[in-house]
Amino acid sequence: MSASSSSIAGSGQRSIHAWLLLLPALVLLVAFTHWPAVATLIDSFYSTPKGTRAAVWVGVENYQVMAEDPVFWQAVRNNLWFAAATIPASIGLALLMAVWVNERIAGRTFVRMAYFTPTVLPMIAVANIWLFFYTPQYGLLEQVTGALGLPSHNWLGSPSTALGAITLVAVWKEAGFFMIFYLAALQTLNPSLKEAAAIEGASRWYFFRRVQWPLLMPTTLFVLVNAVINAFRLVDHVFILTRGGPDNATTLLLYHLYEVGFKFWDTAYAAAITVVLVVVLSSVALFQFFVLDKKVHYQ
């Protein structure tokens, strides 16, 4: 009784309170997310200011240059391949790891630690270790393949394997992180479901496919969105392993953005590339919000 009357009487005051509470966070969000997104869009229609020359309106010229730039399209292709490989691989492995860790196998703590450790290490640090793994002739991978009698291979130096090599590093880094979310979800599953299925005589695979997997859908969705964002955000290892090479075989969109914006100082073109990235991520967000969210939740 008291709550409703005070809220009606003081709703104006409460509104102000609410906005005041919200203000600091909202100001910063707008300043560093929303406004830059809009400003980037605007900047992409101007030329790059250079030395004493100011920026001039050039319309869609930056986009035209982009459309004709083979390196940009290479970056798009690379990123799509990278996403297509890392997303299912890391999610699949994460699920597998979670299932294993959830069961009481011997040495469970060690196994869980091994799976999760890559997550707490800085990517830039582990990339150095992976650089050694991939070094031709005496790198660790080479020593293993050499012991097996296989020929030497320049993993990071040939366009056919370089992208795969950095994909592996990304999957290694991410799977453990996603595993935790699956682990949490698995532990909230009602154990009586298992009993019921066992009594019905269902096989383990059937139990997984028809019971566990659908119930894990919300988690899978959450993990999927994270994986997609990371597929476009994770470029730290490129700095150490390949620097975008060989011949742009491992140039990812964000890395290309960095090169154009901070090595070539072509800020207008970099803005155009940013717009592309933002559009891609927004589409995924909208897709998640409007399509998947509606379909997935049970309760």
Binding site: F32, P36, W100, V111, R112, P118, V120, N128
Partner: protein, 277 residues
């Protein structure tokens, strides 16, 4: 159906599971294991796995001398603390507003917050860099942290948590004459403690390891965090000395790694809580 007759363990894992899980675990830990090997042995043994090789701390000494890691450690610690403090403060206030207030434009405001979940400040490098330049903040710790102070993730989590706290507790406190902020501090915050811990661990891990934005926004040693320092250190154009670099790598990862190993269970549980929706 008596309970004692139900199978004690249903769908038990097989030995195949165990072997496979272990194999994967060993593969997964291999890079770190290699780093340990190389960092603690002289550089001659970097690629030779001779078990009788002598142990040494020399690589750590070399790495420590070669770059101002002490300063980098200080910078990173301050940075992570600053970001966490700001995030906790701002997101608590904002989440409380979303959870307990009705006001015009609430949904729009919330939608704006959600945008940041997808479009992180990292993507908007170029523009954010120019903003910092205009504010005169380039090459400061503050500039590294500022874009992250408002965390959509934290707001989201806390709002969820706050909404689940029974309103009766509110009213009880209000009857005792508590102000809004006092209610927030005395009722909501303590009840959300697990979520705060979870978020803190996520935030610290993320920002300790963050690289690209700090790379661009810092120039000098005074503001450079560990990740940038490590990359600057390991990109010497002369031959890479694996031993020194892995020593440096272990040094920079050590705090999080040690923290994780010691508090493994809490760590895992925190991350799990952060994901539960």
């Amino acid at each position: 159906m008596s309970r004692s007759q139900a199978p004690a363990v249903i769908y038990r894992h097989t030995w195949l599971d165990t072997v496979a899980a272990w194999l994967l675990a060993l593969l997964w830990i291999l890079p770190l294991a290699y780093a340990f090997w190389t960092a603690f042995h002289p550089s001659d043994y970097a690629i030779r796995f001779d078990l009788s090789a002598p142990w040494t701390l020399q690589n750590f000494r070399k790495a420590w001398d070669a770059a101002p890691f002490a300063r980098y450690f200080l910078n990173t610690t301050l940075l992570v603390a600053l970001i966490l403090a700001a995030q906790l403060l701002l997101s608590t206030l904002a989440a409380f507003a979303f959870a307990r207030y009705q006001f015009r434009g609430k949904n729009i405001a919330f939608a704006l917050v959600l945008v940041q979940l997808m479009i992180m400040p990292d993507i908007l490098l170029v523009e954010n860099y120019q903003t910092m330049a205009r504010l005169g903040l380039v090459d400061t710790l503050f500039a590294i942290g500022l874009p992250y102070f408002a965390s959509a993730f934290a707001i989201f989590l806390l709002r969820q948590t706050f909404m689940g706290i029974p309103k009766e507790l509110d009213e009880a406190a209000r009857v005792e004459g508590a102000s809004t902020l006092q209610i927030l501090w005395r009722v909501y915050v303590p009840l959300a403690r697990p979520v705060y811990t979870a978020f803190a661990l996520v935030s610290v891990s993320f920002h300790w390891n963050n690289f690209l934005w700090p790379l661009i926004i810092t120039n000098s040693v005074e503001s450079r965090p560990l990740t940038v320092g490590l990359q600057v250190f390991s990109s010497v154009e002369q031959g890479v000395d694996w031993s020194t670099i892995t020593a440096a790598t272990l040094m920079t990862s050590a705090p999080l790694l040690i923290g994780f190993i010691l508090f493994q269970r809490q760590f895992v549980q925190s991350f799990m809580r952060a994901g539960i929706k």
